[in-house]
């Protein structure tokens, strides 16, 4: 049984439809990258899985159970954690307090302050810095670490590379193997196609809220991805 199944969902913002009959499946332990241009519906997809958006039609199943009507704060204890677009670090809390809030659901597992400081050494030095004063890279690392504090079965990463210098992006993605090693399923949403191809077992490309291409990174040519990405 797949860990996460998204089946034929339509999602709207008011009158505007963002996702059209989208389906997606991830097996436990897999890393899936969802790529696509701005407005392709990638973030909406992650928000729907985390519970911030609710699909008008279709079904989302986690571990075989339908979760469409489960509110976002009850999805965390199930093992779903989202690192949201824009990182959304709590500005008036220190980075360490941000991490501690991430442990609110009290799921136990490999990840705690010590193991996370090990994996993200830059956080260990800056743990007492207020969220608002942290740099973009520190905030991104803290946002991922904060999500891991709930020891999720699936980690949803939204646009990790956005607005960060390439060297910082590299540094943050270098933590991914350590996360996957714990058996964590990862769903990455990226505009940076190269980064996405590098870290994933499978790639799914969205265009205007629909899947236009999917497959293993090794089986997809750059030309096919480019044409799917831009819809040309």
């Amino acid at each position: 049984m797949p860990l996460l199944e998204v089946e034929n969902i339509d999602v709207f913002y008011g009158d505007v439809q963002a996702i059209f009959g989208l389906s997606l499946t991830i097996e436990e332990g897999q890393t899936l990258a969802v790529i696509g241009a701005n407005g392709a519906g990638k973030s909406t997809l992650l928000k729907s899985i985390a519970g911030l958006c609710s699909p008008a039609t279709g079904e989302i199943r986690f571990n075989g159970e339908r979760i469409n009507d489960v509110p976002p704060h009850r999805r965390v204890p199930l093992g779903i954690a989202l690192t949201p677009e824009g990182r959304r670090i709590f500005p008036s809390l220190t980075l360490e307090e941000n991490l501690l809030v991430g442990a609110h659901s009290k799921r136990s597992g490999h990840w705690n302050l010590a193991t996370l400081y090990d994996t993200f050494p830059l956080l260990a030095d800056r743990k007492n810095r207020l969220g608002t004063n942290a740099s973009g890279g520190e905030q991104q690392a803290a946002a991922i670490a904060r999500a891991l504090m709930s020891n999720p079965r699936i980690l949803l990463l939204d646009e990790v590379s956005l607005g960060l210098a390439p060297v910082v992006v590299e540094q943050i993605y270098s933590a991914l193997p350590a996360i996957v090693e714990q058996g964590t399923t990862v769903l990455v949403v990226e505009q940076d196609v190269n980064q996405a191809m590098k870290v994933s077992d499978r790639v799914q490309c969205l265009l205007d809220g629909r899947t236009v291409l999917e497959g293993k990174p090794s089986e997809l040519s750059r030309e096919r991805i480019a044409s799917a990405f831009f819809g040309i």
């Binding site: 976002p72 965390v76 709590f90 500005p91 809030v101």
Partner: protein, 289 residues
């Protein structure tokens, strides 16, 4: 020396204002909700204390063991029913709903207790005082109120800074949606904050009822004084609220010393001056929270 005495009395009065303001400050801090029924709820607590003392004869301080939990429960229910619904409606809804609630409570009290002035009888404690210098004497009960006020502010500050729930409250205040992604149920956090806030209003209301005469319309000035303490101190800062209460208390007592019958007006004027020249308050917090 009468000026020194006025300042001391003002500081001590400020402790009561800080106590009254703490709940208002907390609710605004956690959910950006300004509870216009705050003052009316304080008077509800004062009547509750008075009825308990008169009907059962239990000592006034013992009424707190009943009034504070009951008020906290009232706050919790209020949030889970009316206020969470109001927060999901248009922007004006929470203001309109809490103002409506203030009108309801005030008029219910008028029906139940008439417009006559009342107070909670604490027996000999009412007149007891400590002579500090030949010219300065501090009432024992006002001093207790001041100490409780400082203690409440310190405890609330500690609760928000150090406990898991306090941290969750600050996180929810910063970013409600991101807090949900951490598994925090904001409706529960809001209900908890309002329970604490209204419980504290209960505490403050009983102290107010002992210290001064009150009637159902007294909720209006209570709300206004609490609000002035919050704004003078600076939004989002609990220690600021304590200082705001003290500054307001001193302004009123010293003002009354200088211009009898104009103490309250001078308190308002100090508030307006702060608003004009330091609109972020005198002790603003660096980060919103």
């Amino acid at each position: 020396m009468q000026w020194a005495n006025a300042i001391v009395q003002g500081v001590i009065l400020g402790g009561l204002y800080a106590l009254l303001a703490a709940g208002l400050s907390l609710m605004f801090g956690v959910m950006r909700l300004v509870n216009l029924a705050h003052g009316a709820l304080a008077i509800v607590a004062a009547y509750m204390g008075m009825v308990l003392v008169n009907k059962t004869g239990i000592p006034p301080f013992a009424t707190l063991l009943i009034v504070v939990p009951v008020m906290a429960l009232v706050g919790w229910v209020l949030q889970r029913t009316l206020l969470n619904t109001a927060l999901n409606r248009q922007a004006l809804a929470p203001i309109l709903v809490t103002f409506g609630l203030a009108v309801i409570l005030q008029n219910l009290m008028l029906e139940l207790f008439t417009a006559d002035n009342q107070s909670i009888d604490v027996g000999s404690l009412a007149g007891a005082s400590i002579q500090i210098t030949p010219d300065i004497a501090v009432g024992v009960f006002p001093l207790i109120t001041f100490v409780v006020g400082v203690f409440v502010i310190a405890a609330l500050q500690l609760y928000l800074a150090k406990t898991t729930t306090g941290r969750a409250m600050r996180a929810t205040s910063d970013d409600r949606e991101a807090a949900q992604l951490m598994g925090i149920d904001h409706r529960h956090i809001y209900a908890l904050a309002t329970a604490i806030a209204v419980g504290l209003v209960g505490l403050a209301g009983v102290f107010l009822g002992v210290r001064t005469q009150f009637n159902p319309t007294f909720g209006d000035v209570t709300l206004i004084f609490a609000f002035e303490a919050v704004i003078i101190g600076g939004l989002g800062s609990l220690w600021g609220t304590l200082w705001g209460g003290i500054i307001l208390g001193v302004a009123q007592v010293v003002g009354a010393q200088a211009f009898p019958s104009s103490g309250v007006l001078l308190g308002h004027i100090v508030f307006l001056l702060v608003l004009a020249f330091r609109p972020t308050g005198l002790f603003p917090k660096v980060v919103n929270g």
